[in-house]
Each structure stands twice: as C-alpha cells, then as structure tokens.
C-alpha cells in the first residue's frame, strides 16, 4: 500500500478563487493510500517545495500528488524536489486544477467538485505508480542547422566555437539568407553586407562547420542525441572541388533572361550564375530550366570557357546520410505574395513595389547600382508613399493575423535614407500604429519624423490607381478625419512576412509542433522560447515568429547554447516511460513491431520459465533507448503483454474509474 501525500496549490488566487482548496485537502484524506494533505499559496516556491520535501521525509511518503497548474509547467519541478529527498521522481503526479479547472470555471462549488475528482484520479494513478529508472543513451557530438541565413550562421558559429561539429544545410546555392539582400540595418544604419559577409566567410572557414549549400534535408529519423538525417545535395552541374568562382562562365553564358532572385526579379541573370559577388560558397550553379544545353543539347559555352573544367552537365543529385545529436531549425521567412491585394495594384504597376524590392534598389549592388530610380521609367521619384501593414494584422483569407514586427522599423529606415540622400523627395508613410519596442527604436522613428521630415499619416491606403503616369493613392488621414489623395511616383508596400514554405514540411519531418500560421511552436512561450516540444530540436530566427536581426541573433545564440548543453553530455537520460513487454504473455505475433514508428521492438527467441514450464518462445523485446513511449504497440497487442511504463493499462483505467465514480 502506498503512503501518498496530496498537496494543493492556491497559485495565489489563480486556483484558490475558484477552488476551495481546504475542501480538496480534506477530501484527499478520504482517498485510499492518502496519509497526508496540505495546501499552500505557492507550492512551486522554495517554501512550497520545502513543504513537499518535509512531508516526504517526515511522513515517509511513497507517492505524491500535487494539485496545481499544468504538468507542462511544474511537473519537472516537483519531481526534482521529490528526487532530492530520495523519492523516485516518477512517484509524483500532477492534478491540473488550474488550466483544466480554476481558469475555465467560474462557480466555486463546480470548480471544487471538479478539482476533487481530478485529485482523486491522480491519487488513483499514484496508487499504481512504480519507481521508474531512466535509461541512458549516447549523444552524437554533431549538430545539424537547417537554414543558412543569419540565424543559422550565428547558431552554427556559436556551436562550432564551443568545439562541436556543425553542418549547415541551405537550400539556396549560397548562405546568407534575407540579410544578404538588405542594404542597411536599423537602427544603426550600418551596411548589412559589411556585417554579414564576414560571418559567412567565418562559417565557411571554420574547421568545425560543414556547409551543404544547394541542399535540402529529406528525412530525419531517430531521437534526441541520435538523429539520422538524409541530406539531398542538388546537382549544381558544377564540380565544387574544381570551381574557383571566377565567374567567367557567367559572363559568357548566352541565356541571360532569367529573373535574378537575389534582386527580387528586378533584373536578370545568366543560366549559369553565382547568386552574388560575396556568395558563400562561391561556386557557380547551372539553372537547368534556363540553360540552353539542357533545353536544346547544344551550346556548352560554359563548359568550354571553364579552364578549371568544373562544369559537369551529367552531375546527379546526391544523398548523404549523417548522424546528429541535435537539430536547429532556422528556415526563416518570405515576403507574402501580393496577388490578392489588387487594390494596391502591385501586379499591375511596376512602380508599386515591396520593401524588399526597395531594399535592392537602394543597394549599391542592386539593379540600379544604388540609385533610387523607379522601375517603370528609371526616373527619380519625387513623391513616395509607404503603406504599412499590407497583409499583416488582417482577417481575410489573404491576410496574416499577426504583426510582422519588422515593417515599422525598416520603413522608418527607408524613409530616413531616402530623405537623407534625396532631400527633394517627399515621403509619406501611412500607418495604423507605429510599433517601436526595441533599444533605440523609438528614437530612430522620431528622428525620421523630426529630423528628416517624413510625413507620417495615421490611416490606411484604400486604393492605388495609375493615373497619367502617376500613382494616385487614396488614403485616409484619421487625425484629420479626411480621405486624402496623393499623386505619388513610387508606392512601397510593407508586405507581411510568413514562414518559409519548407517550415511545414520540416516540422512534420521532425514531428515538432507548428501553429496555425506555420510558425514552429516553442516548448514554452516564456521559459523555453528556443526549444521545440520535441527533445533535441531547437528553433532559431523567424521560423519561430517574426523577429528583427538583433533578436534573431540573440535567439540563434540561445539555441546554440541549448545545443552545446546537450552535446556536452556524453549520455543523456532517456524517458523511462517506455513500453515493456511481459515475456510470459507475449504471443510473438509481431503486431506491436509493425506499428512502432521507431523500430524499437525486435523479436527474439528466448527461453522463458512459464510457471515452471521452460520453453523457448518468440517474444517482443523493447529497446528502451529507442522507444519514445507513444504507446501504439500497447493497443496493437491483443494479449495485453505490451504495456507502457508510467501510463499502464491499470493506471489509466484507475483514472477512468476515479473520474466516473
């Protein structure tokens, strides 16, 4: 018989306001096995934990039930407390009387009754709990970073600096990501390339970092400490070991009509190309969709031009399999497509552009060589209108419900840069709210208004209509309570950002959570912001939510620290709540083996002693280091031989009984 202590937390008034904690404590004493109960204002505090520890020692408790917030919050806290005074941590169960009770009910009688039942179910379970000892498994001392933007680069550099191997897998031919496309960065206005490209070079030069560019992660199996990833290296049709990045081939290539991705399609590139001058790794790549050789079988100019003999039209995709102890997702973002925002005329008018396109126009390496010229007629725009929140904060199917976070600041930056370089240009910014939470951000925005004379108009733009070579912008000025019409030369849309389309696929591959907007879900919004809910998978950068560069870099480093902490261990403790097969009951039917997603079950011929009868039987055997404890096998097993430790059939049925009683 267990000796169980029940501890009811008030959580200040969070629980106590809706649940009569004294009543729950009193009711607990009527439950079988319960020898002690107590309530306390904050059970998770040091003194609250002290109460639990004292009771374990003084009352000789063999089991503990804490009625408090969700086990996702403090199960680990209380298990650790129990362990510190010699009680097996798995003898502790949480009854969730906050998220599942006090917070969703208003009536005290109802809340208390439910809390008592939830307590009762937890007590019923603990009565059947058994001490569990976690197994150990080895950690592969290498990390995989998916995505080679600033987030992935920073994470990789930090991990490598700690002495661990890191692989970066980047789907584009070069690392650098979106930051490489930016001209200047806020709020310091320093040149993006000047601060990014050295990092790119550092990453490439680091002996612990291996970059798989133009590659994609195809599949991932395994578990924390021991993942196996298949990486598909797409054919560049250029041998990386031979290409010197001289770029001669790109100059000779006769197919020059492909929109240049790096310049957001505002100029063209050749079929064999190097994305940009500072690309890392700097190897040419052939776009077979544009290459005349691939289309007609003729040409071959690049092959003939290349002295290094690097061009190889017969190159094939290659799949590499590598083992990793930890994986960091840093897949970044894209600007949304603006096809469904016809009112702004983006698809109709070349002079309606996105901010990222403006970024390229302003960049010295961009399509205009850094001169502010509008795309249609390459003239200098005299009047520019910026429109904020295009696709952000909306509820239509084409909108994103969230704030894209970076637009207010980069728009202030653009407005300021334009006013500085071209003081004759009038700049209007239509905004709904200007959001500047960040160090020196508000000051930056105020400078745009006060020092640079940018016209900020509170209101949204309703329509942009091309009219006699100008863009007639219909906006509202809510402070004037007026509709205003501006004939502009250039309209810049602050389009919403969304997670890269690969995020969803990767989340599925890694079996980690994704929210309704396809951002990856962190394990805890406040306390575990860079970890995913899946052990060994970490999040870096915008794949987790909109962020600016400083925030991305901090998160990237934070993710790196988590990875380093994991890789520093030689072995990690496994989840002890794993499947277990009763060898006397197992029929050897193989049903469990078929449903196991991890291949954790194997069948062995083993001599068993069935009540004195010795015979060799084919029985299931669970590899506890591989089993993740889903329980699929337990239901597939008809004989009841397979059970899940920590969630046994009898424990769950005891909970059912307690609830239905």
């Amino acid at each position: 018989m267990q000796r169980i202590g029940v501890f009811i937390c008030w959580c200040g008034s969070n629980i106590a306001a809706t649940v009569d904690v004294k009543k729950v404590a009193a009711a607990a004493l009527n439950e079988p096995g319960v020898v002690f109960s107590a309530d306390y204002q904050y059970m998770c505090s040091a003194s609250g934990q002290g109460l639990v520890k004292d009771a374990i020692r003084e009352k000789g408790l063999t089991g503990v039930v804490v009625c408090s917030c969700s086990p996702r919050m403090h199960e680990a806290t209380f298990r650790k407390a129990a362990e510190s005074c010699g009680l097996n941590p798995y003898m502790v169960e949480i009854a969730n009387i906050r998220e599942h009770c006090s917070w969703i009910h208003k009536d005290v009688a109802e809340g208390t009754e439910k809390a008592v039942i939830l307590m009762r179910a937890a007590v019923a379970k603990v009565n059947l709990n058994q001490s569990l000892v976690a197994g150990k498994s080895d950690v592969v001392k290498r990390a995989l970073v998916i995505g080679g933007g600033i987030a992935g680069i920073q994470t990789a550099l930090d991990i490598a600096e700690a002495g661990y191997e890191v692989d970066i897998v980047e789907k584009k031919p070069t690392i650098g990501g979106k930051m490489a496309q930016l001209d200047k960065t806020f709020p310091t206005l320093d040149c993006s390339a000047c601060i990014l490209t050295p990092k790119m070079v550092d990453a490439a030069a680091h002996d612990k970092i291996k970059i798989y560019s133009y590659s994609e992660v195809e599949s991932v199996s395994g578990f924390v400490g021991n993942f196996t990833a298949k990486i598909r290296k797409k054919a560049r049709f250029v041998k990386e070991d031979l290409c010197t990045g001289c770029g001669l081939c790109t100059e000779k290539c006769p197919s020059r009509k492909t929109p240049n991705e790096f310049n957001e399609g505002m100029n063209t590139r050749s079929a064999i190309y190097i994305p940009f001058a500072q690309a890392v790794p700097k190897y040419a790549v052939i776009d077979p969709a544009a290459c005349l050789h691939f289309k007609t079988g003729k040409c071959g100019l690049c092959e003939r031009t290349c002295d290094a003999k690097a061009v190889d039209y017969n190159q094939k995709d290659e799949t590499i399999e590598r083992k990793y102890g930890a994986i960091v997702v840093a897949t970044g973002y894209n600007v949304i497509k603006l096809d469904n925002f016809g009112e702004y005329g983006y698809t109709e008018n070349p002079d309606v552009i996105t901010s990222l396109e403006l970024e390229r126009i302003m960049n010295a390496a961009g399509p205009t060589g850094g001169a502010l010229l509008r795309p249609s007629d390459k003239t200098h725009p005299q009047k520019i209108v910026f429109v904020q929140c295009v696709g952000s904060r909306g509820q239509r199917p084409c909108d994103k419900p969230y704030c894209s976070k970076i637009c207010c600041m980069y728009t202030a930056k653009h407005a300021m840069l334009i006013r500085e370089k071209y003081p004759d240009t009038e700049v209007y910014v239509f905004y709904i709210d200007v959001r500047t939470p960040g160090k020196n951000f508000e000051e930056f925005y105020r400078r745009a208004v006060e020092q640079y004379g940018v016209h900020y108009v509170k209101g949204q733009v309703g329509k942009v209509a091309e009219n006699a070579g100008k863009l007639r912008v219909y906006g509202s000025d809510l402070l004037m309570n007026e509709q205003i019409v501006i004939d502009a030369d250039l309209v810049v849309l602050a389009a919403a950002i969304e997670p890269d389309e690969s995020a969803k696929k990767i989340a599925t591959m890694l079996t980690t959570g994704i929210d309704t907007n396809n951002f990856l879900t962190e394990a805890h919004p406040k306390l575990r912001p860079v970890e995913s809910a899946t052990a060994g998978i970490f999040l870096s950068g915008v794949c987790q939510g909109p962020k600016d560069i400083p925030e991305t870099v901090s998160q990237a480093s934070a993710a790196a620290v988590k990875v380093i902490g994991l890789l520093a261990k030689d072995q990690i403790t496994c989840n002890p709540c794993v499947a277990r097969s009763d060898e006397l009951l197992c029929n050897g039917c193989s049903s469990c083996e078929k449903v196991c997603p991890y291949g954790a079950i194997t069948y062995i011929d083993k001599e068993v002693n069935d009540h004195g009868k010795r015979e060799v039987r084919r029985i299931a055997s669970v590899n506890e280091a591989v089993c993740q404890g889903c329980g699929a096998c337990t239901v597939a097993c008809p004989s009841g031989a397979m059970d899940l430790k920590g969630f046994t059939n009898k424990q769950i049925m005891a909970e059912v009984d307690a609830i239905c009683r």
Binding site: N340, F341, E343, E348, A465, N467, A468
Partner: protein, 257 residues
C-alpha cells in the same frame, strides 16, 4: 446546353438591348435559355440586413423555379445577378434567412441554395468557353474597348466569386475573344453613383466623370457594361465616348445584330 434565364424588369423596358442581344447570342452559341416562370422584380438592390426576408423572396422563387427544372440560372443584368446570387448565398449559408424565407414560401421542398447562379459573362467563360466564342466571331470588333465592371458584378468578392474583385479579367478576356483590344483602367471597378441618380444626379456625374476620363486617357474608343443603371449614369456623363452593353457588342461580333 439548357439554362433557366432571369431577365429582370429593366431588361424588358429601358434595357431591351441587353436582353435581346443576350438571347440572340445565346442562340447563336447553341445555348437554350428558358425564362423563369412568372418571375418578379428582384428588387434592384440586395438588402444586407438579416431581418429583411420579404425583399429576398422574389429571388428565392426564381431560384427555386430553376431548381425544380434542374437547371442553372443565368442572369445578364448586373443588379439582378448581384441580388439573386447573394440571396442564394444566404439561403445556403445563413440559417436565419433560410428559415425565414422557407417559412414564408412554404415550398413543396425547402429551398437551400441548390441552384447555381451564373452571369452571362460566366456562361461565356466557363460553360461555352471564350475560345469557342472566339471561333464563332464573324465580325471581329477591332476597337479599343474599356470594360466597366462597376461594383455589383464583383462585390462582395467571396459571394459573387466571379473574378478577382480588385483586378478582374473576365471582361478583358471577353473583349479579346471578340477581337477587341482591352483598355484597362484602375477605375473600372469603382461605383458609378448608382441610385443616387434619382435624388442627386450630381453624385453619379462626378463619379462617372473621373471614370470615363480615365478610360479616355487610356485611349478607349468604347465602353462596355452589364448594368442598365451604370449605362444610364455613364452615358449621361461620358461625353462623346460611346457606352454599349456587352451583349450588344457581342451580337455585333457574332453577326446577329
């Protein structure tokens, strides 16, 4: 191809061209249009309030008539199309309006939005196909033509679902099919001033002013529309720029005018 056809009151009087040429063209294109039995006026405007049941009943009757025939319902007037299509949407999606209307009408079987409502332009695009219209053209209309959509054909976009409400293509594609050159103005989906013509003609005058100015500036020689009220407002304010119904220009192209 057999369809039920809802002409609407204006098409029997002031906008006979819209109706007559639509029928002729349909016949030429091998489409059989059968008028809805005892149709009544759609009311001219769709009343957006959910407690306005009676104003939606005539549309439901027409829709139910088509349903009983097992046919899709073709409209040609933008206003009728807007009203009928939106009422149909309500019947399918708004339980309150559905219950109210069915309670009034006491039909043999309740009407739940089963009928498909298609505008004549959609008939040309989706059922006949513009490429087939193109084949049937005997007299290509070699003019620079601006399409004026107005508001009724396109909005609300999720209900009308004819085309991109901000950047539509259907009439431009229609113009190309009959041999014309489409002239696109960003004002082609702005309102003409509508029924304010009755009380304050200055309002439509102003709107149609900048709309037709834009068409002219872009070099349009003709404007086409599907709405008698747009036609009225535009015509009075377009100066020398001719405005015709799309069905009339189609009839010209098909040689049935």
């Amino acid at each position: 191809m057999k369809y039920s056809y809802y002409p609407g009151c204006t098409l029997k009087t002031k906008a006979k061209e819209l109706d007559v040429y639509a029928r002729k063209c349909a016949e030429k294109l091998g489409v059989e249009l059968t008028e809805v039995d005892d149709w009544q006026c759609c009311g001219g405007v769709y009343t957006t309030s959910r407690d306005e049941i009676v104003t939606k009943l005539s549309s439901v009757r027409a829709l139910n008539n088509a349903k009983e025939r097992g046919q899709s319902l073709v409209t040609v007037c933008s206003a009728c199309h807007n009203v009928i299509k939106r009422v149909n949407y309500d019947m399918a999606n708004d339980a309150f309006v559905n219950a109210g209307a069915n309670n009034y009408l006491q039909l043999a079987t309740p009407y739940n939005g089963e009928t498909k409502v298609i505008h004549f332009l959609e008939l040309l695009r989706d059922e006949i196909g513009f490429e087939n219209v193109k084949k049937a053209v005997v007299n290509p209309v070699k003019r620079r033509i601006s399409a004026y959509y107005g508001c009724l054909l396109l909005r609300p976009g999720n209900v009308m679902a004819m085309d991109d409400p901000e950047n539509p293509r259907i009439m431009e594609d229609f113009i190309s099919a009959i041999g014309g050159t489409p002239v696109v103005s960003p004002y082609r989906n702005e309102c003409c001033g509508a029924y304010l013509a009755v009380t304050d003609p200055a309002v439509p005058a102003r709107h149609c002013g900048y709309i037709t100015d834009s068409f002219k500036a872009k070099g349009a020689e003709t404007v086409i529309t599907a709405c008698p009220l747009c036609m009225y407002n535009l015509k009075r304010n377009s100066g020398d720029l001719p405005v015709v119904y799309f069905s009339e220009i189609l009839a010209e192209a098909l040689g049935v005018k």
